[in-house]
């Protein structure tokens, strides 16, 4: 069994699930049916070959399984409503599923799983499960929680979908301003959790980042006229294009200034730039388009020194109008440090309400770098100590220790830059 076949079956499974949820009106029944079909495919296809239309094959098998379950339920409960439902479903099951129906089914599934009436964690977990085919254990590992906790979270979310009657449909245009950010936020979180894993080494969850990029591409394909969908895809492509250059063989972080730019995926950066141009032409700016512009400017700079820091600083100022968070402010201060100097950057950091950032290691490390540049070595070392107290990931901890050592020995970083922050937007 090759990974790619398993992955292909999982991804097809997501599309099939979307159709099954519409047909049965029940996520759990649909999931079980698709799960059975996937297991059968995993056993059969390596022996007899992949069918011409894998999705149609999976859909047929899953439909039959779902019908079996519904028939058994109807017999067991002998309820009139169940019998009627079975009749409806049997009729619906005979339909031919066209591409445009699959497209609508996928959008329905995405908007239902990412309904703002569900908590952010629940939305992300459901999306990973239904759209990426991840199991509860794999999702628990992403969130760093025990598997039973995640299982409970998922079952509560499904229960809420059923009890509160969260509908299985694509929102109307006037509902999109409320509903679309709730979907895109989930996808962005998946990319971020993969690209900058909260635990372990950079690069250890590139598979998850790739799933996020796939979901971003799916949303862009499904809603090509929504510039924020396109912006999110551009952002995801441009930031993950640097994945292979940011860590050395020992797992140590390589700052953007020191990265071998020939290792960047320039094809992905070019695609991101083209996508961003398309999005901007729709003339409805939004936070993902602005962040994509920052990521593209980094990607297009031939060298670190030639990066357009002034424009990046002004983009972050724009981003602050959409999302006035401390994270955006810290990123803006990094760009300001490069374009206008450390004093101006430190002034921006001083305006942040301290309680909102005092547990965030990248705030302290940025502050430390700025203080070091201003010649305030003792204050800089204090800031790095605070950073180390914030339980950073393994990669970040190693980097912070090394950097603190350099400052303590009175050495500036060779390129004198502080870009570890750039492109990080944890929520």
């Amino acid at each position: 069994m090759t990974d790619s076949l398993e992955q292909m079956i999982r991804h097809e499974g997501g599309r099939v699930l979307a159709t099954l949820v519409r047909l049965t009106g029940d996520i759990t029944i649909a999931e079980d049916a698709v799960q059975d079909a996937v297991i059968e495919a995993l056993q059969r296809w390596p022996r007899v070959g992949i069918p011409d239309n894998p999705a149609a094959w999976l859909t047929t098998v899953a439909r039959n399984r779902a019908l079996d379950v519904l028939r058994r339920e109807a017999k067991r409960t002998a309820k009139e409503t169940d019998a009627r439902l079975l009749g409806d479903v049997t009729l619906a099951m005979r339909e031919h599923t066209s591409d445009s129906m699959v497209r609508d089914d996928l959008l329905r599934l995405i908007f239902t799983c990412c309904h703002p009436a569900l908590s952010f964690e629940a939305r992300t977990a459901l999306a990973l499960r239904t759209l990426c085919g991840m199991n509860t254990g794999e999702i628990a590992a992403v969130f760093l929680v025990p598997e039973p906790t995640m299982g409970q979270r998922i079952s509560r979310a499904k229960k809420k979908i059923a009890m509160a009657h969260i509908p299985y449909r694509v929102p109307a245009d006037h509902e999109l301003p409320d509903r679309l950010p709730s979907v895109l936020g989930v996808i962005h979180a998946v990319v971020t959790a993969g690209h900058h894993p909260p635990e372990g080494l950079l690069g250890s969850r590139d598979d998850l980042a790739a799933e996020g990029v796939r979901l971003a591409r799916l949303m862009h394909d499904l809603m090509p006229d929504e510039p924020e969908c396109t912006g999110l895809l551009a952002l995801s492509l441009a930031s993950t294009a640097r994945r292979n250059a940011r860590i050395n063989a020992d797992g140590d972080v390589i700052l953007m200034a020191d990265q071998d730019r020939s290792m960047w995926k320039h094809g992905e950066i070019t695609e991101a730039t083209t996508l961003l141009d398309q999005a901007i032409h729709l003339r409805r700016p939004g936070p993902f388009q602005v962040q994509a512009a920052v990521a593209c400017l980094h990607g297009l700079a031939p060298t670190f020194a030639e990066t357009d820091w002034a424009q990046i600083a002004s983009l972050y100022q724009t981003l602050e109008r959409f999302t006035p968070t401390p994270v955006v402010r810290v990123n803006r201060s990094v760009a300001v440090a490069e374009s206008a100097g450390p004093a101006a950057a430190l002034a921006l950091l001083d305006e942040i309400e301290p309680t909102t950032v005092h547990r965030w290691h990248l705030y302290w490390s940025t502050r430390g770098e700025l203080l070091q540049r201003l010649g305030r070595t003792t204050d800089a070392l204090d800031a790095f100590d605070r950073a180390a107290d914030c339980s950073p990931s393994e990669s970040d901890r190693r980097f912070l220790t090394k950097r603190r050592g350099q400052i303590a020995r009175g050495r500036a970083h060779p390129s004198d830059e502080l870009s570890p922050l750039v492109d990080r937007h944890p929520r």
Partner: protein, 124 residues
């Protein structure tokens, strides 16, 4: 005759953790009350709500009708604002209920929490 709303508050932790027997015992108490107060002719209506996990809260931004709707998961938990009234809305699904809830003036003057009512005919 004046009409009063009696709003029933309970411990969120025990809301879902009870056994079917616990649930049956509490229901028996409520049935007692319903029979007594019903016979006295003082009950104008009432409903039981699904647990707080099923709640959705919305707010209309900008302090006026038609502003952007912000939907969040969970019950309304701000203690400095207090319950001022309620409507029962018959809607096909949560989105339709939220559509109507967003037009209640409380949605822009404060917050509106939307929670499904238990349909005892369907079981829970």
């Amino acid at each position: 005759m004046p009409r009063y709303a009696a709003l029933i508050y309970g411990d969120a932790a025990t809301e879902t953790s009870g056994t079917p027997d616990d649930w049956a015992a509490v229901m028996a108490e409520y049935n007692d009350f319903g029979a007594t107060a019903g016979a006295a002719g003082v009950l104008a209506g009432g409903e039981a709500l699904q647990p707080t996990q099923t709640a959705t809260t919305l707010h209309v931004q900008g302090g006026a009708k038609g502003g952007e709707v912000i939907t969040t998961d969970g019950p309304f938990a701000e203690t400095k604002e207090v319950l001022g009234g309620f409507y029962l809305i018959d809607a096909a699904d949560l989105d339709e209920a939220l559509h109507w809830a967003a037009q209640i003036p409380g949605a822009w003057h404060g917050r509106v929490e939307v929670r499904p009512v238990i349909d005892f005919n369907q079981g829970q």
